[in-house]
Amino acid sequence: MLNRRAFLAAAAAFLLLGTDLGASRAVAAADLSAFVSEVADASITELSKADPTDPARAAALKPVLLKYFDMPGLARHVLGGYWKKISAEQQKEFIDAFINYVASVYGQRFKEYNGQKLEVKRVRDQGASATVFTAVAGGDDQGARVDWEINSSGAQPLVEDIRVEGLSLADTHRQEFTSVMAQHGGDITTLMGILKSKSLVN
């Protein structure tokens, strides 16, 4: 009897837990969709407020990157195996230089912005990570597929990668960064120099 009651209680708990999990995941999917729209809106709002110069655009994009993107994670990814070979001090310096570089390079691209809208098509929630599939359309363009890789394991979701028409930002930068590192025998000085020369913010 006791056994049966315990079993029932366990089953009930399991069922409840199950439904609870299901519910929270459904909410998470809607949240992720809203999160991506929020990132896009924030970028567009900040960038449209900025002066129409490249340094101003870079400065406007930087806080958006810091708030919504997993920049330390991206920095680690783009260095590949070389990340572990540099000192903690160099890692910290590299993260900062990388953020400034990304803000500068991608801030400039917003000058082509002419009213395109982002539409969330599908969310694939895998618990700790998720992919949000969106389409950017409007303006003069034909439209583009943009997929957002989200790290949703922390307190707040963070963007880990963006793929435009299947072209990954993280993987493309990883190829070029590791290529420079390999050419200089794993010494990060040259790469840091190039990043700084292309940065318009500090």
């Binding site: 590949g80 195996g81 070389y82 572990k84 070979k85 500068s104 390079v105 991608y106 400039q108 691209r109 082509e112 539409e119 098509k121 599908r122 694939r124 992919t131 599939f133 969106t134 389409a135 359309a137 034909q142 439209g143 583009a144 597929r145 997929d147 028409e165 299947g166 072209l167 990954s168 993987d171 493309t172 930068h173 990883r174 190829q175 070029e176 960064f177 590791t178 290529s179 420079v180 590192m181 390999a182 050419q183 794993g186 790469l191 190039i194 990043l195 292309k198």
Partner: protein, 296 residues
């Protein structure tokens, strides 16, 4: 005759240069104890890097001297509708090879779209100058034999930077040769001794693509840390995306069948999917909602 002789000499000379470069062009593999360098070397999959970089530089100079200025004139001199007309006509000429590759990949739906587009655009669309089929919902997509090989799981092989032709790999290079042989215009040129039409077509294609991407290429180059490595990575990612027809890599079970087709996002009424090798792949043409696969 004289021209042919000169051309043959040029081919010989290019061949000799390529052979010399190939011998000296192999990258030195990294020290096997240097894990980071080994990882970078393997990820790059570019054992001929020194030779490839050499041709990349040559192509870059050719681009600056010839292609870019001409593409600039083309872009500024021709009104947008004329440029679109040129592109539509060029795309229409590719229809037979696209159709053949749709069939090789077992994509009957996409093949139907290609055939429909070809007939509509060649007639109502005035020899392909107007993309009328697009407004009937028959959207353009690209296919080539390199992609067909990719769908049969043929590996890309090491990266190649070809003189004039640009980035490639053994799989895609093989694809080019097969597509060239599949193209009716190749045989028209050969039989009627009008090979120049294909030269002009190739030139126009280069010009059109360059003109359309003028700003994108400039910004890419400006922001890039190592432009050669950027192009290498983008080429590879673009080809992989094209092979999947723009579908999400994690969703693709086999060509044309995605998990989307099996498990609807609302979790209800899972449709029956017959995974027979010859069965018509469900919903191939229209990529999962919202995946704008315009150029795949």
């Amino acid at each position: 005759m004289n021209f042919k002789l000169r051309f043959d000499r040029m081919v010989l000379a290019t061949g000799a240069v390529a052979a010399t470069l190939l011998m000296s062009g192999c990258a030195t593999p990294p020290d096997p104890t240097d894990e980071a360098a080994v990882e970078a070397y393997n990820e790059a999959n570019d054992p001929l890097e020194p030779m490839n970089r050499y041709f990349f530089e040559i192509n870059h100079v050719l681009d600056e001297l010839v292609l870019k200025p001409f593409a600039g004139y083309y872009h500024t001199a021709l009104p947008q509708f004329a440029q679109d007309g040129v592109r539509n006509a060029l795309r229409n000429l590719h229809s037979p090879t696209i159709f053949a590759n749709d069939m090789f990949q077992g994509s009957l739906d996409r093949g139907g779209v290609t055939a429909g587009r070809f007939f509509i655009n060649s007639t109502i669309g005035l020899a392909g100058l107007f993309d009328v089929a697009d407004s009937f919902g028959l959207k353009y997509h690209d296919e080539d034999f390199g992609q067909t090989l990719g769908t049969y799981k043929v590996g890309e092989g090491p990266y190649l930077m070809l003189p004039v032709l640009g980035p490639s790999n053994p799989r895609d290079l093989t694809g080019h040769v097969v597509d060239y042989a599949l193209d009716p215009l190749t045989w028209v040129g050969y039989i009627y001794n009008v090979g120049w039409i294909n030269t002009i077509r190739g030139g126009l294609e280069g010009l059109d693509t360059r003109a359309r991407n003028m700003q994108a290429i400039e910004e890419l180059q400006k922001g890039s840390v190592d432009f050669y490595a950027t192009i290498r990575s983008l080429y590879r990612q673009h080809r992989n995306d094209a092979i999947r027809n723009g579908e999400d890599p994690n969703d693709v079970i086999s060509q044309g069948i995605t998990t989307e087709d099996q498990i609807p996002s609302d979790g209800k009424d899972a449709p029956t999917v017959f995974l027979l090798p010859t069965a018509k792949a469900p919903d191939t043409g229209s990529a999962p909602q919202g995946q704008v696969s315009e150029a795949n």
